[in-house]
């Protein structure tokens, strides 16, 4: 009988070794989902508790990180589904047929920022300005390194939607950064025309 209670501690250690390395990633993910650190804190804590409770049920262990992300996303939808629905309505759409914008001009405009160590804050600003769903796609791919199929599972959407969000997200990121770096306020055609000659 004692064995039953004694079994808990090694199980917990094993669980922590497998999952705690993803805490930073999950927290960043929760921050994008909830939009504030208080809710992100609660969401991550609940996700870990739930993951721990279901840990022994998770038989085909192939990818803990994707499992944790999916679980966090589902928990978020269950708990905040009212708000999640509101968020989805605010998503700013970019025309899928918009011409592809090369990053060449952007990279030219960016020169100089790098030496000054300003890149990081520029990206933070540009990411924060993106609609949640596009930001999530970029985060899951470029930061967390999930493949398209895993992202589709985590975000609960078809593969085609992942590709479209990713491409729109990167385009928007490029555009915001370019507008920012060339000092042109967005949506002012005259200014935009000037920068294109640079």
């Amino acid at each position: 009988m004692l064995e039953f209670f004694g079994r808990e501690e090694p199980r917990k250690t094993e669980f922590e070794e497998l999952t705690l390395p993803y805490l930073d990633s999950l927290y960043g993910f929760a921050l994008v989902l909830t939009g504030n650190s208080d809710d992100a804190h609660d969401l991550v804590q609940d996700a870990y508790l739930r993951a721990y409770r279901f840990y022994h049920r998770y038989q085909p262990i192939t990818h803990y990180k994707a499992w944790l992300f999916t679980l966090t996303k589902n928990l978020f939808i269950n708990r905040y589904h009212q708000r999640a629905r509101e968020v989805s309505l605010t998503s700013l759409e970019i025309d899928d047929d918009a011409p592809y914008e090369s990053p060449r001009d952007l990279l030219v405009a960016a020169s100089g920022r790098h030496e000054k160590g300003l890149f990081r804050q520029d990206f933070d600003w540009a990411m924060a300005a993106m609609p949640e769903k596009l930001r999530l796609a970029v985060l899951l791919k470029d930061v967390e390194g999930f493949d398209y199929k895993e992202i589709a599972e985590i975000m609960g959407c078809p593969l085609g939607t992942v590709m479209s969000r990713l491409s729109r997200g990167r385009q928007l990121l490029k555009k915001s950064l370019k507008d920012y770096w060339v000092g042109a306020p967005p949506l002012r055609p005259a200014e935009h025309a000037r920068t294109e000659r640079v």
Partner: protein, 276 residues
């Protein structure tokens, strides 16, 4: 051979290594011959590297990390079935009874496998606690409205008890069960002369079960189990999650008339009770 517009469309999947070999080779062939696209691809690659290096979210605050590990420690000290220990032991009269209840818990814990949801084990423990100490009910009496109202004073949810009287089934009473921060209603019924049936009700919650014996009926999944000699039936609807407990399987199914006492609602369960 791909043209430029096709290649540009596949730019992201290509750089993300999501294309199959055939498509990748086609892209590479095009890139070898098209300086415009080649430059575009390499600039995009540089940009994606920049994104990768610069958009990583800041690490989780140390406080969040501490909270997570503390919560996991609390959870691990509170084994899955520990919730069985608290209340029945407290209501037991003497030290002997406490020991008996503790022994029961250990026996149950030994018998149970992880496939049995905590809520069902909680229901069995409450049922046994009642059998051992019939005086432990907080409210007694057969008036459904009175019992429900008294229990609701201490519950965090509205208790929907069917008010229809059923000839061979009598409400004995009920009590509020505390399970961590959650509360459940435990109702005791007498079926016929000597069978006792317990009904545990909580707000609807997710109960994971092994599913091997589950019975799907009218869009509801019923989970029967045999736990330490007790027969249980667990299910959820929009209003509650329920667990019925009795020592006889027949009694559990007969107890469905608690909610489906007469008329149409009795017809609704005809297929279920006769088929099992």
């Amino acid at each position: 051979m791909y043209d430029c517009s096709t290649v540009i469309k596949l730019l992201h999947p290509y750089l993300d290594r999501e294309l199959d070999v055939k498509e990748s080779v086609r892209i590479q062939t095009h890139l070898r011959e098209c300086p415009y696209c080649r430059e575009m691809f390499s600039a995009e690659q540089v940009f994606q590297d920049l994104v990768r290096q610069n958009v990583a979210p800041p690490p989780a605050p140390e406080f969040a990390r501490r909270c997570v590990t503390a919560a996991l420690s609390r959870e691990s000290r509170r084994p899955r079935l520990q919730r069985l220990r608290g209340r029945p032991a407290r209501i037991a009269a003497g030290a002997g009874a406490v020991a008996a209840a503790a022994a029961l818990v250990i026996v149950l814990v030994g018998v149970f496998t992880t496939a049995v949801p905590g809520l069902v084990t909680l229901a069995v423990a409450q049922h046994r606690a009642y059998l051992d100490h019939p005086d432990s009910l907080e409210v007694t009496g057969g008036d459904v409205a009175v019992v429900a109202a008294r229990l609701e004073e201490r519950l965090h949810f509205k208790l929907r008890l069917p008010a229809e009287p059923v000839a061979d089934l009598r409400l004995i009473g009920g009590r509020v069960v505390e399970d961590g921060d959650r509360r459940a209603a435990h109702l005791v019924y007498r079926l016929g002369d000597r069978q006792t049936v317990s009904l545990l009700m909580t707000p609807p919650q997710e109960v994971r079960v092994s599913g091997r014996n589950a019975i799907a009926f009218k869009n509801i999944l019923f989970n029967p189990a045999d736990i330490a000699g007790y027969q249980t039936l667990q299910w959820s609807d929009r209003r509650h999650t329920y667990v019925l407990v009795s020592s006889e399987p027949g009694a559990v199914y007969q107890a469905c008339v608690i909610c489906h006492g007469s008329g149409q609602s009795r017809d609704a369960i005809a297929g279920f009770t006769s088929g099992t």
